[in-house]
């Protein structure tokens, strides 16, 4: 049952965004549909603050995933925690099982979101099926987006232990909003001066949100590199995967220490019991 709610939300959002994009192009490459899901519109769009709203609209499915999964672990520390954890002989094992489920939920959510989006686009435009490139890009999309959402969902769960669920949500979403704002601010600067300068590019790589923009990445595979890397920036897809993976490992490890060592069961922050 747990996974069904993710699938339902993912399919609904996929259909919704598919309908929004219907009619935007008569002909498309399959790989372009994947890039659309990877925020291709916002790669060096030269926009301003109004882009924050547009990005947030596209970012909304991620927010919904984080809202749903944001209390998956934390809820066990609220009501019923005493009776739940008195039966948990190995809390480390419990935690590892929970975070594995969390990552699978994240991957499943983005698989279904994208499949339902692709399905709508298949019916609304003439699609050229460049399967080989599209599948590679699709795998990068799933891995990058699922790692990003796993990271922030786990962050939400862990911060909720200290600041309650609404505090955790505010912190997690606040950080992402900050990253998006930084991105919009600096990419505007980059848009004006990208030609011939490396400083701005280096700066952009430091903004975590940049890792979600698939279409300004580069790839070791020439065919894929020709489809993306529209600005000739050296920003390898593998680098984004590795950095997000490291971030996910660090937060998972930190969470294990927090959950193992801290007596959250002493106080129920949600209901005060």
């Amino acid at each position: 049952m747990r996974r069904w709610k993710y699938i339902i939300f993912a399919v609904v959002f996929g259909l919704f965004y598919g309908i929004i994009y219907t009619g935007t192009a008569n002909e498309m490459l399959l790989s372009d549909i994947v890039l659309k899901m990877g925020f291709s519109e916002f790669a060096l769009c030269g926009g301003n603050a109004s882009y924050i709203g547009k990005i947030m609209l596209c970012f909304f499915p991620s927010v919904i995933f984080q809202v749903i999964s944001g209390i998956e672990l934390y809820r066990h520390f609220c009501t019923g925690s005493v009776y739940y954890f008195s039966r948990c002989i190995n809390r480390k094992k419990w935690y590892l099982k929970e975070i594995t489920h969390l990552y699978i939920d994240s991957a499943v959510y983005f698989i279904f979101l994208s499949l339902s989006f692709i399905t709508v686009m298949e019916f609304s435009a003439d699609i050229h099926h460049n399967f080989r490139e599209a599948i590679w890009l699709y795998l990068y999309y799933i891995v990058i987006f699922s790692l990003w959402n796993y990271f922030f969902s786990l962050l939400l769960n862990l911060t909720a232990l200290y600041f309650r669920s609404n505090g955790g949500f505010a912190i997690s979403l606040g950080i992402q909003m900050f990253f998006i704002s930084c991105y919009v601010f600096f990419q505007e600067k980059l848009y004006n001066i990208y030609e011939g300068t490396t400083d701005s590019v280096r700066l952009m790589k430091l903004i975590p949100f940049s890792h979600l923009i698939l279409s300004w990445h580069s790839s070791n595979n020439e065919e894929i590199d020709n489809l993306i890397n529209i600005y000739g920036i050296d920003f390898n897809l593998n680098l984004s995967v590795i950095l997000l993976f490291i971030a996910a490992v660090i937060i998972s490890f930190a969470g294990m220490i927090i959950i193992e060592k801290t007596d959250f069961i002493l106080t129920n922050k949600e209901t005060g019991g």
Binding site: S81, V82, Y83, F85, E260
Partner: protein, 214 residues
Amino acid sequence: MKLIAENIVKTIKKKIILDNISLELESGNIYGFVGRNGCGKTMLFRALSGLMHIDSGRITINGQVLHKDINVPPSIGLIIENAGLYNEFSGFKNLKLLADINKKISDTEITKAISDVGLDPNDKRPVRKYSLGMKQRLIIAQAIMESPDIIMLDEPTNALDERGVKLIRDIILREKERGALVLIASHNKEDIEILADRVYYMDGGKIVGDKDYE
């Protein structure tokens, strides 16, 4: 089953909550813990059940050191005052959710535990609609349903009417006969006198005395 606490100390916000407590408890006995509010009974149960880390000292259960070899005792039934269940679920679903963690018992045994405490296992109402007495009975059912080796009951007869109190006392005595190690903290002097084989008196986080009952 042997539960040994050696010189356990716990301080919260610079206040000593458990002050050098040592105990040696064996299965087949009921141990009562008596003391006024805030004397440390609930904190002692939290420490002995592994739900709270201690600052110093050692707790062993059959030779296994708590928080070193194990996180919680391998087989424990627990009632902690003010700790609730999942309010949105029915009584059966609550117990099922907890039983699924270790998968030691079947639905039949869950149903039996609910019936034993005088509740209807087929009651579909969410627990938030239960009276205080019904919630207390359900919490007792979760503590005993898996026939645990150790049972820690913090104020088990709270919110119960006279019939409920008698029923729960009978259950506790039955669990003792089964060979469980039972710990009870209660304000109710009668509970302790009727049930306990030995009573520990607590004050200011210390054990200040003990008494054996025939």
